[in-house]
Amino acid sequence: MDPECARLLPALCAVLADPRQPVADDTCLEKLLDWFKAVTEAGSSLLLLQEHPCLVELLFHALRAQDLSPRTLSFALRLAGVFAAQENCFQHLQGDPSLFVASAAGQLLVHILDLAMREPAEGRVCPQAWDWPVCARKIVCHLEDCLRSDAAPRVTQALHVLTTTFGHCHGLWTQGLWVQLSPLVACLLEKDPMPAPHTLVDLLLSVARSSVPSSDPGLWETVAQTLSRLSPTQAGPLAAGILKLQDCPQALRIQAFNVLLQPLACVLEAATQAPATPGLLEGAAGDLMAVDTLPPSKSACVGLLCSALAHLELLQPLPQRPSPWPQAPLLAAAVTILRFCNGSAAPSSEAGGRLCTMLVGCVRVQRAALDFLGVLSQGLGPQELVTQVFAVLLEYLMSPDSSPMVLKKAFQATLRWLLSSAMPPGCCDLEPCAQLVLGELLAMLQKRLCSPCWEVRDSGLEFLTQVTRHWGGQASFRQVLLASELPELTRQLLQDPESYVRASAVAAVGQLSSWGLLAAPSSPEQPAIPQETPLEALLLILTTDSEGFPRRAVMRVFTEWLRDGHAEVAEDPERFVAQVLRAAGKDGDWEVRVQGLELALVFLERLLGPRGSSAAAPPSVTARALRALCQVQLFEFAFRSLFDCDRPVAQKSCDLLLFLRATATPPGSPQEAGDRPNVASVEAALRRWRAGEQGQPLGELAPEAILAVLRSMDLEALRDTLAKSSDHVERSPQSLLQDMLATVGVLGDNEADCY
């Protein structure tokens, strides 16, 4: 701890201990705690406490004081926990009504338990309970009492402590602890209703992830029993947790997977007229498969379906996901859910009818099912089902009733399916299924781009951009797209009143133009007026749009165009870069300026070769490059950016100049000592810029002068300074302590004023 902080600490402790002083907010206390953590990690906390008795006083005071705010008490407990993590010198307390205090006390108990058990446990596989230190025995006794209690809050509290224990403590003693406590946990399972089921699930998962299972296979039995005792909604998180475990018995995995599949199986069953399609749950769990097992209330049923879909969605990409993965029935289930939601599926029974009534128009389920369907695109499916997938997605995309959010999800899922089934290997065009939907898809998109709802226009444009990015070169796609109104509509949306839509239109125009899909339109009304080119249109947005989003989008498109050699850009790249940098340099939005530097970097790489290749460019290349850079006034832009008030801009510029210096003036390159160019005027300008006087232009610069300035600048030092956050002074612990005291001090002044 630095001396200044040490000096301030006693005053702060006094403030904290004084209930009349309205201490700073939670954030300050959090920051203070972070600082103490850092300090204790750096040195002995015992020493810290010895050197700063005010801390010990504060902790003692916190234990005794009745009128301390829960906020401060919680802070004191957590501080104690921080110290206890190193030293065994504290007693426990628990049961405060304040949530903060209870949680902090719980954490403190865990720390103490961990500390107490570490030593005796050393060298022994699994110490018996009578070997435990008094302190640990006390704590465990307390936890046992809680677990036996009929008061739900006490049980919950104990479960929380145990969950934290098994989550954070990895000593072998935890195995002994489980042996000791597992009968009590098993008793909880027998109770009706089961107390604190969610917390119990957390505990079991925490134990399952610890080293306990290796020593106690009985755990799996408890877990299996819990899984079957919990309601479907409660069992979901446990099942998902089990399936994410690296090692667990296959039978349990099957049981857990069935829990997640059950709701979907019910949906499938509700819509199946004849059992022709394979079910999701075969064999043992088959007899459970009845729509009647779904909760009767709409909110519970919707909640169950959504959580099952979300769990399965997360599980799908994991390597440890269940195998075989029932891709086809899952696809069928997702399609059926979506059909129930839009009212197009006919239920096969009365119970199915009830399900249908609950799901019709339910946006929550629609969103979850569309997300899930999107994830399923990573696997294949029978052709017939894939056709159904596209059919249902089209229904959603075309339906006027789809909410903007549902529509966005439908677009995303459609894109995933289109791309996954796009091109069979060895084939040069789109897959027949995708070709089939293409026409309808683009016709629908046309209408969506005319929607009065801006969110719909926006997600429509995003979809168009993505599809074009992937399929811009596909003959069938190009054909359908060029025959549609889409290119013209997209161009018109550059003038959309909503800035997000303009930004998306910019991106779409960028993509379409890259692929040559933005042919000059024939305007039937005004055939005489030639329309501006995409480049001109986007430049106009960059220089005139009042909102940042469209201008940022333009910069991204321009950067991409320059990188990919867009035809219009390639005609005269220098002129293009000069125009763009001039506009970006004046932009008030720092992200536009950063993007300008990115574009400058791409330009540099085009001239000097890619970054990262350590080889310096040959002198002739360098000379030519420098001339080009001077011509486009890249240096003026870069140097100004170096002193930009927004740190990311300055950092980016610093990187760019460092790259340029490394490539253009490699170490050991001869310096023309005798013929040093006059850089005084440049340096004078830079000094003024640094001082905030940005008005002065740099004027004409010779390449030699640039090199000289680059050599003379301490860019590395600048980079280091910039690497520290701009508020690094304000964020120091000293500043924090001063601020906290100042807050109180100011209040003190006010009191004085009153007299």
Partner: protein, 667 residues
């Protein structure tokens, strides 16, 4: 004071089978109230369109002949693309006029301007002498709708009036849908403007929440229903019975005042009509669809035709377009609104400030016009004309958007545009009114190249909203058209598309009479002050007092009053005495009324005190039996009666009776 009322039934006579164009007659507390008189215009779909300008296509349609080649109907029926149409002045299907004598109707309550279109038929041709109640916007806009209708039909005089085909024997031979058309004999031609004026003169204007007394028996109150300017639901109530009549209502935020739901609470019966006709179409989605299709068509150089009524959803559509056209780059596209009442409709909408939603009301104080179509007109983006003739033909510029009637496509300026634009696939007709099947409306224009888009915008309650409403207001019984008690035939699996309530709704169909289920059967009776003064109440329980009263019940104008009985006049003369005995009801000396209960244990003790011995008590299902074995007597004590059964020993009986009476209160 309450009186049990067991003598009066309440009935509903259902004169219309159309759930959104209802016409019901309620017999309630000796009043006869007609609830709405909607006119079913779907009958006009069987007729050929009335072209405003001579249409070579329509006039050259071939006549229809029977399978055997008999062509006697070819003047009346024409064939077009496989459909057969009646070539005559269009006719409307009236509400039932035979089910109940409509001259007995006391009042007609109108809930919105769409539900009054049959009014002239009722008020002018049935002997109706009552009063019609409606709000001012309902009357004014209703007048516009009627005026437009009359104008559309009268300005294209048709010499021919077909009637042969209506003959039952001939109708059977016709192809569908003519063959299946119902009650064709009762179909009537449109009324005249004179009849409209006469009908409207019978209307008395009312304001929301205004209480209107009908013959002292019933009070009716209009409530805002949120569906259209001035649209109302009605409360019909007596002192102890309440009927809510819910007609076209909306919970969406459009231009009218929001719906008043709270006042519908505590109804014995809630009659539910006028729900959305397109329960699967969400109005917001449809407006989006409307705008998108409009923009796509116009951008391609095509024209857009919107068949519509001159009031209602058109205001909201114009408002949406006002916000949309600039963003969609349509600022240069002209919008035309063509109707004989276009001007009045646009102006009326701006002056009914008090009937508008809060947002629009506040605009008036700024002061700004509540609807933005004023600005569209000012900037020349929206132009309105009474007809395609005259100024319109000079101003007409394409591509454009035309709003015009009639949504049935059988008469009005819309017929001209269908003929004009139907041949080009660049043009689009967008159906926004939900009253007519768009496929049937289009049938006489087939084959048609123009695009057809169906975006029905129906802001009336959907079934989810109904379910919430019923949970909120909790009526004891719901009465609704039979169509609402089962899923739509085309979507029989959609159990969510029906009224779901407990007890299940009572359903009705055209020409049915329903007995309404009322549980409370009481009447309020007033007691004259001098009679009240003479009462001597006796407290039988804390807070409850009883008094006997002898009085004369006088009933007049459905009000019941208890008056003191006339004093028996002294016998002074033979004549007078005779008269008095005729008039005055017998005032016998009444036995006192008894109340209270007999505590058996104490009763037994009292019996013993009075010398009875050998007493045995038995418990029975209803009370006790006290056996006086010695006296061979049995006292049966039940909750509401006590019997003393003894062998002809009157002295003993009287003694026992007096002992029993000691435990009871007399008054």
């Amino acid at each position: 004071m309450e009186q049990r009322n067991g003598f009066m039934g309440h009935f509903q006579y259902c004169l219309s089978g159309h759930p959104t164009l209802p016409c019901n007659v309620l017999k309630f507390k000796s009043t006869t109230i007609m609830l709405d008189c909607g006119l079913d215009m779907t009958s006009t779909l069987n007729f050929l369109p009335l072209p405003l300008v001579q249409s070579p296509r329509l006039s050259s349609l071939p006549g229809w002949s029977l399978k055997d080649g008999n062509a006697f109907l070819d003047k009346e029926l024409k064939e077009c693309s496989g459909h057969v149409f009646v070539d005559s002045v269009p006719e409307f299907c009236l509400p039932e006029t035979e089910l109940i004598d409509l001259s007995t109707v006391d009042v007609i309550l109108i809930s919105n301007y769409h539900c009054m279109m049959a009014l002239p038929y009722i008020t002018e041709h049935t002997g109706f002498t009552g009063t019609v109640y409606a709000t001012e916007p309902t009357v004014q806009i209703g007048r516009l709708l009627m005026e437009e209708l009359v104008n559309f039909i009268e300005r294209v005089p048709k010499a021919q009036s077909a009637s042969l085909w209506k003959n039952k024997d001939i109708q059977r031979l016709l192809p569908s849908p003519l063959k299946d058309a119902v009650e064709v004999s009762t179909w009537r031609r449109c009324y005249t403007m004179q009849e409209v004026n006469s009908a409207l003169s019978k209307i008395q204007l009312v304001g929301y929440s205004q209480k209107i007394e009908l013959f002292g028996a019933v009070q009716v109150t209009p409530l805002s229903s949120g569906y259209a300017l001035g649209s109302s639901n009605w409360i019909i109530q007596s002192h102890y019975e309440k009927v809510s009549y819910v007609s076209g209502s909306s919970l969406l935020t459009t231009h009218p005042q929001p719906m008043d739901q709270a006042s519908l609470k505590n109804s014995d019966v809630l009659i539910l009509t006028g729900l959305t006709q397109i329960p699967t179409a969400n109005p917001d989605g449809m407006v989006g669809e409307f705008c998108s299709n409009l923009a796509l068509t116009v951008r391609n150089g095509g024209n857009v035709l919107v068949p519509c009524y001159p009031s209602g959803v058109i205001y909201d559509l114009l408002e949406c377009l006002y916000q949309y056209i600039d963003s969609a780059g349509l600022s240069s596209i002209p919008f035309y609104f063509i109707s004989p009442v276009a001007n009045s409709s646009l102006e009326f909408s701006q002056i009914f400030a008090e009937w508008l939603c809060h947002n629009k009301q506040t605009k008036v104080y700024l002061p700004e016009p509540p609807f933005p179509h004023a600005e569209l007109i000012q900037t020349n983006k929206l132009k309105h004309y009474p007809s395609i003739h005259g100024d319109f033909s000079n101003d007409f510029r394409q591509p454009c958007v035309v709003f015009t009637g009639h949504p049935s496509l059988r008469f009005g300026d819309v017929v001209h545009f269908m003929e004009l634009w139907g041949k080009s696939s660049l043009n689009t007709v967008i159906f926004t009114e939900p009253d007519f099947s768009y496929l049937e409306a289009l049938a006489p224009y087939q084959p048609l190249a123009m695009k057809c888009v169906y975006c029905p915008i129906d802001t009336r309650l959907n079934f989810i909203q109904v379910s919430k409403l019923l949970k909120e207001v909790q009526p004891l019984h719901v009465v609704c058209p039979e169509q609402y008690t089962q899923p739509p035939p085309a979507q029989s699996h959609r159990m969510d598309l029906m009224v779901d309530c407990q007890p299940p709704a009572m359903s009705y169909r055209r020409a049915e009479v329903l007995a309404l289920p009322f549980k409370r059967r009481y009447e309020k009776i007033e007691i004259m002050p001098e009679l009240a003064d003479s009462l001597v109440p006796m407290e039988i329980k804390p807070g409850i007092s009883l008094a006997t009263v002898s009085a004369v019940l006088r009933t007049k104008d459905n009000k019941h009053v208890l008056q003191p009985p006339p004093r028996p006049t002294q016998p002074t003369g033979g004549k007078k005495r005779k008269r008095a005995s005729d008039d005055i009801p017998d005032c016998k000396v009444l036995k006192p009324l008894l109340s209270g209960s007999i505590p058996v244990d104490q009763f037994v003790q009292t019996l013993e005190k009075h010398g009875f011995s050998d007493i045995k008590v038995e418990d029975t299902a209803k009370g006790h039996i006290v056996l006086l074995q010695e006296a061979e007597t049995l006292i049966q004590i039940e909750e509401d009666s006590t019997h003393i059964i003894c062998d002809d020993d009157e002295v003993l009986r009287v003694r026992l009776r007096d002992l029993v009476l000691k435990f009871l209160q007399k008054f």
